[in-house]
């Protein structure tokens, strides 16, 4: 069965601190895709990154970086030098490769950045 676990329900840090959001997934597929989305208080879901299972290279985009490790089935997300605007709920999701096209979502981690 496919499953995505975001064990951290809520994280609160002070601005400029680094913070890592954990994502652990389960799948029997040998090929799959992983995503991170951001949902600010305004409600829209903003796509941040996708990663396919063949590519374990870490990725950095500005203050954001992602660490994909198949050995531990994890796809963690780090924000460096956090800012108040980073406050949001962050969802990790897994894309299935069978005939069901549904994204498997984690429960989300609420990130609060205090000034």
């Amino acid at each position: 069965a496919q499953k995505v676990t975001q064990a951290q329900t809520e994280i609160s840090v002070v601005e400029k601190e680094d913070v890592t959001l954990d994502c652990v997934y389960e799948t029997r597929d040998t090929t799959y895709y992983l995503f991170w989305y951001k949902q600010p208080p305004s409600g829209e879901l903003v796509f941040l990154i996708r990663r396919n299972s063949f590519d374990e290279q870490n990725e950095i985009s500005g203050r954001y970086s992602w660490n994909f490790q198949k050995s531990t089935s994890s796809f963690n997300f780090t924000i460096t030098a956090s800012q108040v605007v980073d406050s949001a709920v962050y969802f990790c999701a897994l894309s299935r490769m069978d005939s069901n096209y549904q994204l498997i979502w984690g429960a989300g981690t609420k990130l609060i950045i205090k000034p």
Binding site: Y33, E44, S95, R96
Partner: protein
């Protein structure tokens, strides 16, 4: 410019009174999705269209229906809203289905539905 547009942003309806939520896209994507998201939960897929091909999730209540008259527009109809249907409804699009070419889904701002 917004590429997936949902109207209205907030909708209030009465218990049992039909309501329609709308979504339009300027991306010319093949797939359009409707999600329901309740407070502090992940989005839950209700159904999706691949072009004109409608795909209903097994646990989507019969109360929820959808129409896609053309590529750009998709509607969510709730025939007899109950108090439990109060939620954020999110529309999303992708060029291909999730799982094909790892296409990300692009979301609208959502419509927050309240039931009186």
């Amino acid at each position: 410019d917004a590429m997936v547009i949902q109207n209205p942003r907030y909708q209030v309806t009465q218990f049992g009174k039909p309501v329609t939520l709308s979504c339009s896209q300027t991306l010319n994507h093949n797939v359009m999705y409707w999600y329901q998201q309740k407070s502090s939960q992940a989005p839950k897929l209700l159904f999706h269209y691949y072009d004109k091909d409608f795909n209903n999730e097994a646990d989507t209540p019969d109360n929820f229906q959808s129409r896609r008259p053309n590529t750009s527009f998709c509607f969510l109809d709730i025939r007899s809203p109950g108090l439990g249907d109060a939620a954020m409804y999110l529309c999303a699009t992708s060029r291909e289905r999730a799982g094909h070419s790892n296409q990300p889904q692009h979301f609208g701002d959502g419509t927050r539905l309240s039931i009186l």
